[in-house]
């Protein structure tokens, strides 16, 4: 039976690969094709406290939503479930697999919660309905407000069980929003829009937030002092310090994976170049010396190279520089206007926004070069792409509905979903690393 599951997983992988082919050929393959049918039961109250739909339904909703968003699963409608979650058990032997196989479920998520003295304990199990066995189980202990993260964490575990690589749902997105007003402030929220936190509130212009590799800080550019300077906000301490306030433009850039170096753009009399700074903000090395514009640096996986935008050829294109030899090569040749690159921390690819026929779309290209793949089309302007830490998804901003909102899609362009829904413009999304 294990072979059957393995075969099914392989089928998923192969079908994903086939879809990639289809994308290139321009065929439209609807989202939802070849998804693995999974049921997510309501959580059972295991403790003495009163039942709380926030946990029983709320957690099941989060798990179902994340699994759906992942693109791998088809969620079997809860309204069709046969068993009573209050009376059936969550352990092997305490419920009937036939209640689930009848529905066509091939996998089943069950769980329970216990609330005692303000401490929340949740327990999750993933079952293989065909094999009638448990494939994974986790118990989490935390505070009441941690219930959403517990759900996201178990989704990451489910995805690990199916693919061998942990999911990326226990993460956050930082982005710029005009909210209901005109100021551009920085926010951070979970992918599902919950747990939203306002990082800046200075009634000015704040831009380009980027995460530290430990997920505890963001660097951003702000005009809160009247001039464009780079600041560093720390989530744990709430401290907000000026990181680079040199004369002219200071533009927030990118943190190396070891956290020791920050690549950012600084201006010298109109000429913007890329520099490496240490974690205190001191210049360690100047990377580019072109007379053109060099902006938007992003680190390679190994930390030995930086990709960036330069107009040295006349129009903005993506280049890659080796930080020890300073040898530079041009990465993008197709398209006349390519900006906003981000190098995945997981796969050796770079995503960027490129303009054709006056519209911007998201592309990805192998870092060694080659043909870029277009991931969005015929849906307004699509900009500011950012990879999920597992390299499987990309968040970006799009004005396809009129206003800019943040969207997520699989790295092959499938399953595009809107994430934010503010009354203003939401731009510059950046996906956090995995949270600790």
């Amino acid at each position: 039976m294990r072979r059957i599951i393995f075969a099914l997983v392989m089928l998923l992988v192969v079908s994903a690969a086939m879809r990639v082919e289809a994308q290139v050929k321009g065929l439209i393959v609807g989202p939802g094709a070849q998804r693995y049918p999974i049921a997510v039961s309501l959580l059972k109250n295991l403790g003495p406290a009163m039942d709380d739909p926030k946990f029983s339904e709320g957690i099941a909703d989060i798990i179902a939503r994340d699994l759906d968003l992942s693109g791998w699963f088809r969620i079997i409608d809860r309204a069709t479930y046969l068993e009573d979650p209050k009376t059936s058990g969550i352990r092997l032997g305490r419920f009937d697999f036939r209640d689930w196989s009848t529905l066509g479920a091939e996998a089943l998520v069950k769980g329970g919660f216990e609330l005692k003295d303000g401490v929340l304990i949740t327990e999750f199990r993933l079952f293989d309905v065909f094999q009638r066995r448990q494939r994974g189980g986790k118990r989490y202990t935390g505070q009441i407000q941690d219930y959403r993260r517990m759900a996201h964490k178990f989704v990451d575990e489910i995805i690990f069980q199916f693919t061998g690589v942990r999911g990326a749902f226990d993460t956050r997105i930082t982005y710029v929003s005009t909210g209901a007003g005109r100021f551009k402030e920085i926010y951070v929220a979970h992918l599902d829009g919950t747990d939203r936190e306002q990082v800046t509130n200075n009634r000015s212009i704040n831009l380009s937030p980027s995460w530290s590799p430990n997920g505890r800080s963001v660097l951003y550019t702000s005009y809160k002092d009247g001039k464009p300077k780079v600041y560093r906000y720390d989530f744990t301490s709430g401290s907000d310090i000026e990181f680079s306030g040199r004369k002219g433009l200071n533009l927030s850039g990118s943190w190396s994976a070891d956290g020791k170096r920050i690549a950012l753009s600084l201006e010298n009399k109109g000429n913007v170049d890329i520099y490496l700074l240490d974690s205190k903000g001191k210049i360690v090395k100047r990377l580019t010396r072109s007379t053109g514009i060099d902006v938007s640096p992003t680190w390679s996986l190994k930390g030995d190279q930086v990709a960036f935008v330069s107009n040295r050829s006349g129009r903005p294109q993506i280049y890659i520089i080796d930080i020890s030899t300073l040898k530079t090569r041009r990465l993008t040749y197709s398209g006349k206007y390519n900006t906003s690159p981000e190098w995945s921390a997981k796969v050796d690819k770079i995503t960027y926004a490129g303009m054709s026929d006056g519209r911007f779309n998201i592309f990805s290209i192998p870092s060694q070069g080659g043909d870029p793949r277009q991931l969005t089309a015929n849906a307004g302007d699509n900009e500011d792409p950012s990879w999920s830490p597992d390299g499987r998804y990309i968040v970006f901003s799009s004005n396809r509905t009129g206003r800019y909102q943040v969207y997520v899609m699989r790295a092959n362009g499938d399953n595009q979903r809107i994430l934010t829904g503010s009354s203003g413009d939401d731009t510059n999304p950046s996906w956090s690393p995995r949270l600790q």
């Binding site: 464009p228 533009l251 514009i293 902006v295 900006t339 911007f360």
Partner: protein, 195 residues
């Protein structure tokens, strides 16, 4: 606030229209004659009316934005300021011939107001990445500053700042609108000696 300019402007226009005859940019008249001019406008009535003295500063685009006022712009049809905006082609920072003409006129204002200090605001349209556009705005501002310096304006009177695509004067999605946003806007930030 900005429109208070109308008044002192009319004063110096009278004076400058005299002093500028034959004064080609790059061939500045002596700075003393310019000083005399500014002294003359305020001098005769000093102590009588403080409104004769030009306001100390105009609002920067960022300040206007933060207050919720319209982002200031001074196209050639507008008479609200002595310093006219100039415009650029998409993704360029080279100065078009008409931009140079406007800058020549702006340089004359600076020659006639030798204590005036200005900030050169570089702006871009919304197309492209925010960061690239900030760098493009910086490029445009510097190109203008360099040009004014070649006309003899002291660089210590000229500061630059880029706002990229962040402070558009026009918000519809059309080339006409984008053209209005690809601009340099000038702000008189003071009349004292350069600090």
């Amino acid at each position: 606030m900005i429109y208070r300019w109308n008044f002192p402007l009319s004063v110096f226009v009278l004076a400058s229209s005299v002093s500028l005859v034959g004064c080609v940019p790059g061939m500045m008249g002596s700075s003393s004659s310019s000083s005399d001019q500014s002294g003359a406008t305020g001098g005769g009535e000093r102590g009588i009316s403080s409104s004769e003295v030009p306001p100390s500063a105009q609002a920067r685009s960022l300040e206007a934005f933060q207050r919720g006022s319209e982002i200031p712009s001074t196209s050639s049809s507008s008479k609200s300021s002595s310093l006219q905006d100039i415009y650029f082609e998409f993704n360029r920072f080279t100065l078009r011939p008409e931009a140079r003409e406007t800058l020549n006129a702006n340089a004359r204002w600076l020659q006639n107001n030798p204590r005036g200090r200005i900030e050169i605001e570089g702006h871009a349209d919304e197309k492209g990445g925010n960061e690239y556009n900030l760098a493009l705005g910086a490029r445009r501002a510097q190109a203008v500053k360099d040009y004014l310096v070649t006309l003899g304006i002291g660089s210590n009177r000229l500061s630059t700042i880029s706002y990229g695509e962040e402070l558009p004067v026009c918000k519809t999605k059309s080339e006409t609108c984008w053209q209005k946003n690809r601009r340099i806007h000038f702000v008189i930030i003071g009349f004292g000696p350069a600090s």
